[in-house]
Symmetry: C3
Subunit: 320 residues, 3 copies
C-alpha cells in the first residue's frame, strides 16, 4: 500500500501508528489540540464529554503499567469507557490469533484500540486488517511496538520542546543513550526532523548506535562532552537493565562515567538547556539525581503533557 495507512482520504489522522512520514501539519495539529487539555487537567472536574459512550480497549500484549495508566487516564478524562485487557494472560494463551482477538473485540463494538506489543509492526497489522474487514471506523493507537515506534511518547516530547523552546527550526537537540534498542528515540528523531529541527544529535557508545542512523538526518557522537556542546535540549534515554548485563556494555558504573548526565557535563550545553527523560529513570546510571531533580529538568512536565497529548490523539482519531 503506497498511501500512508494512518491517514484517511483527505489526509486526516485515522490511526496513530508511527511518526515516520506523518506530515508536519498533522503533528502541529495534535500539539495544538493538546494545549487546552493541559488546563483541563488543572480544573476541579477534569472531564470533557468528547468520547462519552465510546469503548476504548487497552490491548497490552506487553505489560506496562505506566503507559497503560496514562492512556487510561486520558480516555477517562474524555469520558470514554475503558476496558483493560492484559492479553499475555488471555486468549492468545488459548491459541487464538492476534487478529481473531481483534475481530472479536470489534464484534463487541470497540471504537478504539490502544495497542502495546513486543513485536514491531503489530499495530500496523491490526490497522490493515481493520481496513480489509471494512471496519475502518475503528481506530488504532500505537502505544509502543517492539523497537519500532512509540509515537505518543515522541509527540509528548515534541510538545515539551515546543512548550519551552517555541521554534524547532532554531534548536539543537541531543538524544543520549541506548538508541539501538529505543523506540522512543526512533519516534522522536522522526518527529524532530519532520518539524525541521536545526540539528538532531545522537550520543551513544558505538555498540548502541543503529547502523546507518545518519540516513535519518542525525549527527552521531560517541563522545558525550562533544555531543552536548551548545545543545538546547538534552533527551536522556533509559538504559534497560538487561543491557547493563549484556555484552554491549561494560558496567552501569562505567556507563554512567561516560554517558551519564551530570551537572558538570550539562554545563557544556546552552545555559538555558532543558533536560528530558521518558522515564522510569535509573538514577545514577543514565542520569544523576542532581540533574534529574534540578532546575533544568522538565521530566515531570513531560508526564503532564503526555496525558494531554494522548487526549488529543484519542479525540482526533475518534472524530475522523
Amino acid at each position: 500500500m503506497s498511501r500512508n495507512p494512518q491517514l484517511g482520504r483527505n489526509g486526516e489522522l485515522v490511526h496513530l501508528l508511527t511518526l515516520e512520514g506523518l506530515p508536519a501539519e498533522v503533528i502541529a495539529h495534535i500539539l495544538d489540540t493538546a494545549e487546552p487539555f493541559v488546563s483541563i487537567a488543572e480544573r476541579e472536574v477534569k472531564k470533557v464529554p468528547l468520547l462519552r459512550g465510546k469503548a476504548v480497549f487497552n490491548l497490552f500484549f506487553e505489560s506496562s503499567t505506566r503507559t497503560r495508566t496514562t492512556f487510561e487516564i486520558a480516555a477517562k478524562r474524555l469520558s470514554a469507557d475503558v476496558i483493560n485487557l492484559n492479553i499475555g494472560a488471555s486468549s492468545t494463551s488459548k491459541g487464538e490469533t492476534l487478529l481473531d482477538t481483534v475481530d472479536n473485540l470489534c464484534a463487541m463494538n470497540a471504537d478504539m484500540f490502544v495497542v502495546r506489543h513486543s513485536q514491531s509492526g503489530a499495530p500496523h497489522l491490526i490497522a490493515s486488517h481493520l481496513t480489509t474487514m471494512g471496519r475502518s471506523y475503528v481506530h488504532v493507537v500505537n502505544a509502543g511496538d517492539g523497537r519500532h515506534a512509540h509515537p505518543t511518547q515522541g509527540l509528548l516530547d515534541l510538545y515539551t520542546i515546543r512548550h519551552y523552546k517555541k521554534d524547532f527550526r532554531a534548536l539543537t537537540v541531543a538524544i543520549v543513550g541506548d538508541v539501538l534498542h529505543s523506540r522512543v528515540a526512533r519516534s522522536l528523531i522522526h518527529g524532530l526532523t519532520t518539524m525541521q529541527t536545526a540539528q538532531v544529535r545522537v550520543i551513544a557508545p558505538r555498540t548502541l548506535v543503529p547502523a546507518r542512523i545518519e540516513a535519518l538526518g542525525v549527527k552521531v557522537y560517541n563522545d558525550m562532552r562533544e555531543g552536548l556542546r551548545d545543545c538546547d535540549v538534552v533527551v536522556m534515554l533509559r538504559l534497560q537493565s538487561e543491557r547493563m548485563k549484556g555484552a554491549l556494555l561494560p558496567s552501569p558504573g562505567e556507563y554512567f562515567k561516560h554517558y551519564g548526565l551530570t551537572d558538570e557535563k550539562l554545563a557544556l550545553a546552552r545555559p538555558d538547556a532543558i533536560v528530558m527523560h521518558p522515564g522510569p529513570m535509573n538514577r545514577g546510571v543514565e542520569i544523576e539525581t542532581a540533574v534529574a531533580d534540578g532546575a533544568r529538568s522538565v521530566i515531570l512536565p513531560q508526564v503532564t503533557f503526555g496525558i494531554a497529548v494522548r487526549m488529543a490523539v484519542l479525540s482526533i482519531v475518534a472524530a475522523n
Copy 2:
C-alpha cells in the same frame, strides 16, 4: 426446593443460573429484550442509564478474559459500576469460604454477581444462600460453572439462530465436537429443546458423548457427514487443548479429519446453513479457516449479539 430457584413468585427471572427448565416465554422475553440493545451498540453513545448507580461484581473464580470482558462491556453500557474480582488470587486463597466472600460483597451493597466458577453448581449455591440470608434482591448471573451450564452463551446462540432462521420449530441444528466436557453444548441443548426445535443433533466421537444424552431429546451421530446432512445450523465446539493430549482422542490432525468442519463437509448441510462457534476457535483443529471466515459463518455476529443478550439479562434481573 421444588420451585425453580431462578424464578420469583410471579415467574419473573430473578437469577439466571441455567437454561434447563427455564420456560420458553422467559427465554423469548430475554431475546426480545436484547433486540434494541443490538442497535444501541451501533450508536455514537453506546449507553443507556438502566443500571446507573448499581454495583455489578464480576466474580471470576476461574479466569476468562473473553467472557469477563463481554459482561463488563454489557454492564458499562447499562451505566452500572463494575468491579472486577479475580478471586483465584484473592480472599479464598486466604482461606475465606465462597459464601463468606459473597456475604462480604453483599455487605458492600452489591446489586448483582456475575459468577464464573470451575465447580458445577457454585452459582446455584450462591443464589440459595442469598435467599437464606434474606438478600433475594441481589441477583446472580451464571457466567459458566464447571461442565454444568453457560446460560448466556446458550441464549446468545439462540438469539443468533432466531435472527438468521426465525422459527426454531422448522430447524435441524447440529452441535459438533466435545459435548462431554461442554457446558456450552448443555445450555444450548436445553434452550433448543425448550424452544421446540424440530431436531437437535449431537455429532461427536463415542468418547466425547455423555451417557444418556438422548434423554435430553437429541439424536446422536458418530459420523459427521451423516449428522450434517440437511442441517440448517451447525454449531462447532471448541476442542480444549488438554483433551487433544488425553486418552480420549488420537491427535488434533486425526480429530480434524473426522470432526473438523470443512467446506466439503459443510456442503452436506442445507445450502443456506449457518456456522456457529462459541470461540476462541482452534483453526485447523475443529474448523478450517475457509469455513470460519466464510460466507456462512456467523461467528462474529454471535459475539455482537452476546453483548446485547447480556445487557438484556442484566437489565431484566435487575428490574425484578
Copy 3:
C-alpha cells in the same frame, strides 16, 4: 516536624495516615460524615457527585483485593475516576523508587492516593514528600502500612461500636488475638483511647502481646475468660496462617481452645455484647461459626459501615 502531618493549618484533615494523635473532634467529624453515606448505599442509585472528575489512585504495593475493593466502591460512589495500580508488578520492579512513582502520578494530576504498603511509614513518607514538592493539594489515605496502622479499619470499628453502643465513655472493649502483628489492633486502640473508652483490654498469649503495650492505655489479659468478663464489645483479630506454623504458637487447634471465641466463652461478656472481626475470618481458628453467624455478631455491618467511612474520609480530605 512537630505539627501533626495529617492536619492542615486550621486543624483540618488533609491526609489520613494514622489514628494516633488524631483529635477526638476530627474522628467524631468523620463518623458523623459517614452516617448519611450508609443510607446512600441503600438507595437505587448509589452515587453522589462529590468527587466527580477527581482521579483517585489505588496504590497497592501489597496486594489486598478486599481493602482495594472497598476503596474502589467508595470512590466510585463518590463519582471519582479510580485507577488501580498493582505496583508489585510495575515500575518499582523496573527499579523506579517509590517517590519517583508518586511524582509521576502527581504529574498525571492525581488528586488522591490510597496507599497500601508492607513497610510501616510508607504513606507518611509520601505525604511528607508531597509537602516538600509543594503538592500539598494531593491527599494520602493510608490503607494499611506494615504493622503500623490501618486507620480506615480503626474508624469503621469505631463507627460500628458507636452505632450499637452510643457512648464510648461507658464501654469495656476487648481486642483478642495476635495484637503483636496487627495494624488493625494498633489503630483501634488509638481510636478507642482518644474517644475516651472506659476500658480497653487486650487478650492474647504472651508471645503475641507487644512489649510496653500498657503504655497505650490498655489492660492486658492472657486468660481469655478473665478478659472477656463484662465486656460490651469483643473484637476478634484474624490469625495469619503464617503465625500458625511459626514458633510463637503451638497449633491452630490449641489456639482455638485458648483464644477462639465460642458461645460458651462469649457468655462471660455482657448479655448485649457485640462481636466484631475485621475479616477475612478463619472459622474454627479464632472464632467458631456459631458466634460468627450468631445474633451478637456485627461482622457484616462492619463491612457496610466500612464503605461509608471510606466515603467520608475521601470526601473530607478532598474538600480540605
